[in-house]
Amino acid sequence: MERRVVEVSVGLLMIAGFLALLILAFKVSNFSMYGKNDSYVVTAKFDNIGDLKPRAPVSIAGVKVGQVESIHLDKKLYKAIVTLRIKTQDNNIPTDSSANIVTAGLLGSNYIAITPGFDPTFLKNNSMITETNSAILLEDMIGQLIFNSKKEKDPEKT
């Protein structure tokens, strides 16, 4: 009897531990990674990816449809090749869609927004998005702003 209480309570502790791990996996963290079976891969070349990182979301009209799988450099063109993994259920993205790197909020992290095109053919596994827009770097914009305002001031001086 005593022994049974011990074993049952240890078993309950272990079950509680594994349940808690499941909660951590599915409720607290984003373990809903896409498997090879229910997703397909699309690549896109960008001039500049800014602060984009692997696992950043890919969205259409603000709805998340996939995530960035990997980023590496094209050695000939010096462009960034971004591999996107998109859910199979969203397999009706036109081939002339464009991929843009945008920033969530003013200082948020970067993600990829796909703007759908009008082509009747759809993106397939390993196809490539040709229309891309690079990340807008806030630092560059500020730099340009300062540069422009200086230019405007200079003629006044002379």
Partner: protein, 261 residues
Amino acid sequence: MIIGSVQGLGRVGLRFFNQLGESGLFLLKTVFQKPRLIKATPLLIQEIFFVGVFSLPIMLVASLFIGMVVGLQGFNILSQFSATGELGQLVALSVVRELGPVVGALLFAGRAGSALTAEIGLMKTTEQLASMEMMGVDPLWRVVAPRFWAGVISLPLLTIIFCVVAVFGGDLIGVEWLGIDGGAFWSNMQASVDFHNDVLNGVIKSAVFGALITWIAVYQGYATEPTASGISRATTRTVVYSSLTVLGMDFVLTAIMMGGW
């Protein structure tokens, strides 16, 4: 005078490394044994019961309060930037990465480590370990190894439960009491907490802490001076050493994990 102080330093150093080596050999002898699973399993379950199940209430209470405090503190700071929606991220990341493993380990050292040392120390003082050896039973196998493995298994389980309860404590304060939007709380949390980099690394940390704490506890118990005051000193040393080791190791592990390992 100078030579005397140098000699004192040398003696301290020698004693430190002597003990380190002795405890290392002790651990090796405990871990590398002929596996006797059928006989050892009931012993192990018994020890998990004492070490793990009995530590559960203190862990639950502590984790609930820690989650609530982090939620409250975070809310006060984040509301200055009108970013209270990020509270879920703050609570979950701080608990899963640091507070869960470290505070859980400190509680475990106080609750379970001290008990292990006192138990084994008393066994040694009353010569139970020696009589076991006389009967041809290896006390390392019969007494030390089940307690060691019980600690290594229980602490990660307890830490995972700790993290979940603390996150719900944060939810209780943030969403139920302070009125943050529940959807923002949970979705920001899910967007920022990564299973591999945050959750699994936290679990790895707690497994390392569990091994360190029980190693220190069983060694201190086994090497006790066989007197009443010896047991009390060994118990104190267990809590002090294991708490400091946990905090130091936490820094090292965090540095390794943050360094893209």
